[in-house]
Symmetry: C2
Subunit: 429 residues, 2 copies
């Protein structure tokens, strides 16, 4: 099949009629499918349920340091859980604090801490006037919402196949009002790319003008491999040590997509200086995290190896969903010059790039026949995709049958929106 | 026995020698007792353990609105848990958000929100210059540490038997830089008093100059009755409605001292306007709280009545401890003119007031023989008790035998410090 752009107006109109017929059939089917968020499906969650049996009424309630996990105290987490997360991240456990159930919460609180108290001996960000952050795009909508909430100006940095455009980043960090970057370095949300070794090295070697420049290194998908040849990400702190730049990095991870998204455990790793600032705040903010849930996780997983083995089980649910999406995209969208998509080795998302100006229309067409996707623009600061071209596909939640239906709908909508756009252009010219 | 003040120097010296002998005996006993924090004891925690069996691998995981509690979502808590806390607080469930495990965390985050975003349409507190808070004293050390962390100036307000000195509060709130008050209205930490109806009514009727005046109403001991004739606290929002002043109140509670201090559930209640501000922040801060733990609590307690029945069980562990402390104080300290103490109907603490200038010495004498008490001054802003007279007694954690030993040590130390102080004064005069 030839590219849509090469078709005549007549051929395009004919194509449009055919697509509209298909689309109207979907309309009559009364679909109701929600693919808007990266939520694991129920079957996947069932893999974790034995975790809940790890602590019950007749359990031993003591952490390895003899602390009753039911009681107050240990504001930085139980030592065995600090060690588990340290092992996964490849950092020293003294640099890890284990918190509640949400790494997003850790990032929000960290930004808030910088706003009110500053970091690295610098003035609080709230007292520094305009503060800016670099945002590799497309990226994670909830990251951008944190920055927007605090009035931090966001600067789009194109996310390439090997990570953010480092030339651009290097040119921006000479500005001392640029205070940081927020990113997902492995299996990035939503494109699924992993920062190359070269990118990680260039990040570690940055010399920002701001002494309080901080990179929120959201390693959400650190163990979320789906392929037999998974990506590998250089451990950032080791690279930073070569440049004495460890203070730039605030790394977070969570078990949200390992155990339970609602009832997992999240942790932060940072340099000695940063972790001390974080600990100083946490000691005032709370008497301690939910340590019963921490010990539940340690007992269930045992070690990082236990986590890796568990992730292989989860991959059995995720990988077929990714394959299904890619198969349908290949069948329905390839060769038409109207869409590109990523084929990640892990993570939670596939990114679909449609013709410029077509993402919003495509998502809206889908919504009108009962298929809810992540909002167009969501992957960009302020919800504004300058190209209106990116659509995040989250295959994790629906059943495979539902996913198949949703993708068929999506492909018809992508094609219909593309034909409409091309016809519109022809009319104008 | 006559008051120490009436004794001659000779009699005082003789008394001192006797007390020193006793004290030295304690020294040789190698005690190691920690009474520094208001932690429930292990036996008391065991009363809650069936809670852990409420959700296990073969459980139903759906909240009443059909949400899988293991998954993301419901940032304001599951509806049945909102309702449970609303019932306990006597407020409308639409005004309740159920969060993580810590009401302290809720208060910290709320103050932080006021610092960065302000409230009630006013400028962020960080942009308003000096901001002040009224602090009924003695009070809860962790409250004061939050305010200190944010650089909020704390003003001591004497806590009387029926609540804070309202005349003083009324005179302070005409200053628009006075932005709030933080208090424990029922079974106050550490004196155990409950605000009288008259006090609650005067609080509700306040007309602060600051439109963003906020009272953190920490109802930590709302269901923590120990006596057959418990205190009752007027529901504050109902009183505020009469004056259209609901926006002044941010009420928090938690199950920390109902279920587990480390793994309970905490909630906040606030006016429509305030709860919307809080929700707006929480929707950015997290994808959702630990809803598995919320449903665990709802299933275990069932309703507010279930909580009240459970508290009666816990009171069986707590009440004898309170009685023991009071019995020893009565035997060892009464009639000597050197100490006064409270006899609360509930809560977690007894407040011991020793001779001015003697609290620090007493706590230090205790520490030197292995009995760790809450630091002298802890119940005051900046850790500074202007009279150096208040000692917080936390009888909940040690066994009754340990508590007996600790109180015997404490009484000897109180007496020794008093004798030293009186002798010192005599020498000076």
């Amino acid at each position: 099949m030839s590219s849509y752009n090469e078709l005549s107006v007549e051929e395009l109109c004919e194509l449009k009629n055919g697509l509209e017929d298909k689309y109207n059939k979907f309309k009559s089917m009364g679909l109701s499918l929600d693919m808007s968020r990266g939520k694991p499906g129920g079957i996947q969650l069932n893999e974790n349920n034995k975790l809940l049996d790890e602590v019950c009424s007749d359990s031993d309630f003591y952490s390895e340091n003899g602390w009753d996990v039911r009681n107050y105290g240990l504001p930085y987490g139980i030592p065995e859980c600090q060690r588990l997360f340290a092992e996964i991240m490849g950092v020293d456990e003294k640099n890890v604090v284990v918190c509640g159930n949400s790494s997003l919460n850790i990032m929000f609180d960290y930004i808030s801490q910088c706003m009110t108290h500053g970091t690295g001996g610098c003035e609080p960000w709230m007292k520094q006037g305009k503060v800016k952050f670099l945002c590799p795009v497309p990226g994670y909508d909830r990251h951008f919402r944190i920055l927007e909430y605090f009035g931090i100006e966001m600067i789009n940095i194109p996310l390439l196949d090997d990570g953010p455009d480092m030339d651009m980043i290097e040119s921006y960090v000479v500005d001392s009002s640029v205070k940081g970057m927020i990113c997902v370095p492995k299996y990035s949300n939503p494109t699924g790319i992993t920062f190359s070794d070269e990118t990680v090295r260039r990040i570690a070697a940055l010399k920002p003008a701001a002494g309080d420049f901080r990179i929120l290194w959201d390693n959400a998908y650190i163990v979320h491999d789906l392929s037999e040849s998974p990506d590998s990400l250089l451990e950032i702190f080791s690279e930073c040590k070569k440049h004495n730049s460890e203070d730039m990095i605030i790394e977070v991870i969570s078990s949200s997509k390992i155990s339970y998204p609602g009832a997992g455990v999240a942790a932060v790793a940072a340099s000695d200086s940063n972790i001390n600032e974080i600990k100083k705040r946490i000691a005032v903010q709370t008497i301690g995290p939910d340590k019963i849930n921490q010990i539940r996780h340690v007992r269930f997983f045992g070690s990082a190896d236990g986590v890796y083995a568990h992730m292989k089980k989860l991959a059995k649910h995720m990988a077929p969903r990714f394959e299904l999406v890619l198969k349908i995209f290949d069948e329905e969208l390839s060769g038409k010059g109207i869409a590109e998509w990523t084929n990640p080795n892990g993570g939670y998302f596939i990114n679909l790039k449609v013709l410029p100006g077509c993402a919003g229309r495509t998502v809206s067409l889908c919504a009108d026949v009962g298929v809810k996707l992540t909002g167009a623009g969501a992957a960009f600061p302020y919800g504004k995709d300058p190209e209106d071209a990116y659509i995040r596909i989250a295959p994790s939640y629906p059943s495979e049958d539902e996913l198949q239906s949703a993708m068929e709908v999506l492909c018809v909508c992508v094609r219909l929106a593309a034909v409409e756009k091309i016809l519109e252009k022809r009319e104008k010219s």
